[in-house]
Amino acid sequence: MAEQQNEVSAGYVKTVQSEVSGKKAASKTNKDSLLKTVLIGSIIPVALIVLWEILSRAGVVPPNQLPAPTTILDKIVSMAQDGSLWGHVWITTYRVLAGFVIGTVAAVILGSLVGFYKKVEQLFDPMVQAFRSIPSLAWVPLFILWMGIGETSKVTMIAVGVFFPVYLNIFSGILGVDRKLIEVGKMYGLNTFQLVKRIILPASLPSFLIGMRSGLGLGWMFVVAAELMGASQGLGFLLVFGQNMTRPETILASIILFAIIGKLTDWILKLVEDRSLHWQDRVQK
């Protein structure tokens, strides 16, 4: 973009072009640094896994309780080969994503209303806060009762998990929006809806995104409770099944799959976060 300065007079279109070429160059260095990030990020997990394998081989950890990483890998590979792995992963991912979308949408709507209208806050917030500390397992019998054991109850269960952190973060994000910026919106005659869309949501985006990431994490956690409701497939099912059948390698395989897929979905949200918060005036680390 060094030429841009000399071509100020050439103006607008030019600027955009040079920006595009600048982006290309940037994306290359991005790739390198992504690789580096992944490498550095793997140091500790890899070290832990190696240590675990060594301890297992040395017989320090009993294999019938904590099988070696290679045993677990074998298990995952064999599940992949007989095809059951994809079924588990897919159905759980589907449930989490569906629940995530529903929970997030519900939280955005209620969170915005509560953040915006004092009356709504006074009516709803206390109840929501009370519900927030009810454990996922406690909902299981109620959900079975209300919705049976189909997909509805499972997805709803996950949506409940996702709802609370998103709600909480949206609500507080909105409260934390600088009055000064809201006033700008008001001066331009924005109505409440536009104000939420054009000022409040962007301004509370950092908080909102963290809420979404927290919520997604909770979605993964609620899967187990969800899949206690008559599931015969899914990672949560796999976990409970492994526990009921004393199969430690199944348990650990499911834990590791949870970690990997959870991390992947979180990483997508983190990318979105980095993209959409590039405007923040952050300190360079």
Partner: protein, 241 residues
């Protein structure tokens, strides 16, 4: 549009910031509001704009008394208040409606006028203080508001750029016959731009004096009449008096 303040006072947590301000502004008039720091100038502008409705007294805009926000009012705040997630261009088009192309063309025109052509894609954090202020000016002027409330709009600009933008303001005023209330600390600026200069004084701020400047525009910045006003205004600002 005409504007009238009747006995406007504003109290924050028991401390009165401005007291009993009365002011009649005719359509198309440019009023300068001067006063020591903290005497309530911004408070008054906020009351006029409708952003603050907890004042006492009445504010009448074009014959109707209301505490609502008029969307034909433009406000340049004391700080730039750019939306940090929008780039310069999007900040300027923020208040516009219409097709994207139209909005952008209008915005680019004004960015040209404030000397920021070529900076459309920068984000607020990449702007210098004066550049941010100029973006804010472009954002307010581009909507061609009927009432313009300006809170020290040119304070962060160098002398030369300041003069250019004062002339830009007059151009806009001529074209749209906006009614303007201008808060400023620059007496030369008030003299150059205003039909009338109102001096607030004290804490709580009260209207102390009014100067009517009837000289025709364009005015000569170095004229003797203005120099005379200047020393008088300066004197009435003196706290020790």
């Amino acid at each position: 549009m005409s504007l009238a303040l009747r006995d406007v006072s504003r109290t924050f947590n028991g401390t009165t910031a401005v007291k009993n301000v009365n002011l009649e502004v005719k359509p198309g008039e440019i009023i300068g509001l001067l006063g020591t720091s903290g005497c309530g100038k911004s408070t008054l502008l906020r009351a006029i704009s409708g952003l603050d409705s907890e004042y006492d007294g009445e504010i009448e805009i074009n014959g109707t008394v209301s505490k609502e926000i008029h969307d034909t009012t433009g406000f340049i705040f004391q700080e730039p208040r750019l939306l940090p997630w929008l780039n310069v261009l999007d900040n300027v088009t923020f208040g516009l409606t219409g097709s994207r192309k139209e909005k952008e063309n209008k915005a680019i025109d004004y960015l040209e006028s404030v000397g920021l052509r070529g900076k459309e894609r920068l984000y607020p954090r990449e702007l210098s203080g004066g550049m941010a202020q100029r973006v804010a000016i472009a954002r307010a002027l581009v909507t061609s508001p009927e009432i313009l409330l300006l809170d020290e709009p040119f304070s962060a600009l160098d002398a030369f750029t300041k003069m250019q933008l004062q002339d830009l303001l007059l151009e806009v005023w001529k074209k749209y016959q906006s009614t303007i209330v201008l808060v400023t600390h620059d007496i030369d600026e008030a003299n150059y731009l205003c039909d009338r200069v109102v001096i607030l004084r004290g804490q709580p701020g009260e209207v102390d004096r009014e100067f009517i400047i009837s000289q025709k525009r364009p005015r000569d910045r170095g004229s003797e009449e203005l120099a005379h006003f200047k020393s008088e205004i300066l004197e009435s600002l003196d706290l020790n008096k």
